[in-house]
Symmetry: C2
Subunit: 469 residues, 2 copies
């Protein structure tokens, strides 16, 4: 079937031939069932209920924290309650990072408290804190270019502000400061670094997030100020007087911890050892309840598989929902899964992760072999009524699929409207109220289409793919 | 002049007569100067600069705190720098209230930290905190009606949510819970009370604010949860299992403290002992930098007087700008001023306070004697081009004018669009970024009109007025 489809595509690009192709791919009654379930999903509360359950009954669940194990237990119980055919826990071990207490204040010229939070993987300050003069840089490049004499003995402050974009692309432009400001500061003799939060809001709630850390590379205690606090600091700096900042971070690396990927399978009827991998990450940062990052992704993908089984029944391939362990500061679950399944990577037919909040989906992106594009076209026919267009075949999917994608697995992205996502991302404000149940349900409708069509065919999407084709 | 104006109004209501009246009130060149200054003010940055200065150089300034004295010093220096003719500090003494540390967590069934803040004037919990089962009430009335057996030994929780309204009227409907939940709970044998924040936002930043306190009336430690935390607690309560809350408040009453009303006068040329009283309150809650509550009011009214002096010159009456002390938990400055000036109350011709943020002004309200309505009409002619309409003659002005208003002083309100005001009010989010400089400048334009016209006439607005006419 695979070979036939492939050569047919090569032989003809006429619309008629393509239509013929499609009719051979799926049974009309199956497509009708998918369309019916898609429409049903638009009003189904299951994804919201799952999201509410995880945020209410577990809440914050930083990798390695007490709630990490509670989240794993929650995931296992929830899969079973939803009637998944097989629930598996797979270990993922990593060095724990703990936040501890944190506080900051301007000591001079105008004493004021500041809202601050440690960047993930920051080293602690001494117990009495760090006190130093602030030296300002507009962005990471300016810090990188700075004369070490300007930085030496000082606390660096990078003030670049993330821009608001539907696709979240402002994040990539700004987040470099979070990643490497500490190492660059240390290399130049600075004693600490604070950055403007990587976020689009104006709330007094700083955004955490992982920074680069290597126990063998010099670093400094690193933290983020909320956007209003960064503004305040800028206004003080404008007055051309030295500004003295004091901050204390209690964060530290602890011992090794073993968490688990929680895997729920709806086992395939004809090709049970071929997996359509969907999912979310189960961990969250500790400041909020991890609603949009990433309980909503768990709600969307767990509901997708459950609804397919309930309303259509098991399909040819196995639908595998993975709740990934400790995405936030190490992709620990992603790495462990790749290692544990390295002898069967080719059985991972197509993968997607929902990890960008709960906004409505507006586009499908893929990274599949060209021979599978008729399958994508078929998906698009069922996605179009949801207001979803096709993006391109350059999708990178989401973080937890990086190891599988690097190994060559085909991936897809159902692109969500992320206009507001970075208002709340990695803050205490990441709570259930930020989720619109209608948008969440629209996500499920779209995931049902892609997942069901990928699972109910014998055709592959290619393997051994690379990002630049 | 007074008598003539009054009888003329009685004798004729024709438009022509009214116009004649107006032409007798003010010199055309004066009205032209006011109009010119009004238009200039729309682009003048002074109010914003003052607001930025107070929030940056002082920041949080709770009555009785270390920053209270800094704010007073700031006010005195700022009035002098702006060229006010006379700057006076008048003492206002009150018992200090101090926040201390505060934290909350759900212990069962689903342990989670909660964002909490003590209500102003709450008593402390024991050092180890209060732990108890939560008993929920939809609103204060339900708590008041509750059987004491339901409340005894428990922590009460009132979940009413404030509604969003342009005029802020949702506040009055919801804020009763903040005022008396603690006393009602104590009277029924409860051990503590937490309320949903009186605010319209969904941010994880609880709203503080004063509650009723009488050292002779039983009370309990009282605090507010942020709206997302109140939602979370509601979701736990829905599960029909006992919910155990623990919270710790370090708040306490301290010794007596003497702060000051800071008074800046632009002295009148013909009637220097007659005052047009405008101003703001200088104190703020401690969680934010007190930008919209009420640095913006200081910026608006200080700029108003300064610009009038600079662009028009001193007027017949004295323009008195009062930066009121400790409005937030006691109206201490308002009471002290009333007491100190009780022998000259009638010299307070008209009063207004800007204490509702920095939204654009949409209406003028007054509480003046009917004989002064032609003066109000004259103000309206100059306010109309700013998009401002006349509300009614039932204005209650703002909190710090309560004692003077109760004594019979005429008052006005320049009503601001408060749609977003209660998103930030009394939270850490009350910071400079919430202020739109254009809206702030529009406020100054309106205050210039009302202040200048009230100050440059010999006509009164009535005295001995009561609220129900």
């Amino acid at each position: 079937m695979k070979a036939i489809a492939y050569s047919a595509l090569l032989l003809s690009t006429s619309l008629f031939a393509a239509e013929q192709k499609i009719s051979q791919m799926y049974d009309a009654s199956f497509l009708q069932k998918v369309a019916t379930l898609r429409d049903h999903a638009l009003n189904d509360p299951l994804a919201y209920d799952i999201t509410e359950s995880l945020t209410t009954e577990v809440g914050p669940r930083l990798g390695g924290s007490e709630n990490d194990a509670k989240a794993v237990a929650w995931g296992e119980a929830k899969f079973k309650a939803l009637g998944f055919d097989r629930v598996t826990l797979e270990p993922a071990t990593f060095q724990r990072w703990v936040r501890g207490k944190e506080r900051a204040e301007i000591l001079a010229p105008f004493p004021q408290p500041l809202a601050i939070t440690a960047l993930g993987k920051s080293i602690p300050t001494p117990k009495e804190g760090i006190t130093g003069e602030v030296v300002h840089f507009a962005n990471l490049a300016d810090l990188e270019a700075a004369d070490p004499n300007v930085v030496k003995g000082k606390i660096t402050f990078i003030s670049n502000r993330m821009s608001r974009q539907k696709d979240g692309s402002g994040y990539g432009q700004a987040v470099g400061a979070r990643g490497t400001a500490a190492q660059v500061t240390a290399a130049k003799g600075g004693i600490g670094t604070v950055i403007r939060s990587i976020g689009t809001d104006n709330d007094r709630l700083p955004h955490t997030g992982a920074m680069k850390h290597d126990h063998n590379v010099a670093t400094v205690p690193a933290a983020a100020l909320s956007n209003p606090d960064a503004d305040l600091l800028m206004n003080m700096l404008k007055r051309d007087q030295p500004v003295t900042l004091k901050y204390t971070l209690g964060s530290y690396f602890g011992d090794d911890y073993t968490s688990h990927n929680v895997i729920g399978d709806i086992v395939g009827t004809e090709r049970p050892d071929e997996y359509i991998v969907i999912g979310c990450h189960l961990d969250s940062w500790d400041l909020g309840t991890g609603a949009i990052d990433d309980a909503s992704g768990c709600g969307i993908t767990m509901a997708t598989a459950k609804l397919i089984k309930q309303h259509i029944g098991p399909l040819k391939r196995t639908i595998r929902v993975i709740l990934w362990a400790n995405e936030e500061y190490g992709l620990a679950g992603a790495k462990a899964y790749h290692e544990a399944h390295k002898h069967e990577l080719k059985q991972h037919i197509l993968g997607g992760e929902s990890d960008f909040g709960a906004g409505a989906i507006y586009a499908l992106g893929t990274r599949v072999d060209e021979h599978a594009m008729p399958l994508v076209d078929e998906m698009m026919k069922l996605l179009n009524p949801l207001g979803i267009t096709y993006a391109n075949n350059q999708s990178s999917s989401a973080p937890d699929l990086i190891p599988l994608r690097a190994a060559g697995m085909a991936v897809f992205s159902l692109k969500q409207d992320g206009t507001d996502y970075f208002d709340y991302h990695h803050t205490a404000n990441d709570t259930l109220d930020k989720i619109d149940p209608k948008n969440l349900a629209q996500n499920v409708a779209a995931w049902v289409v892609v997942t069901a069509l990928a699972a109910n065919t014998a055709q592959d999407f290619g393997f051994g793919l690379t990002d630049k084709k």
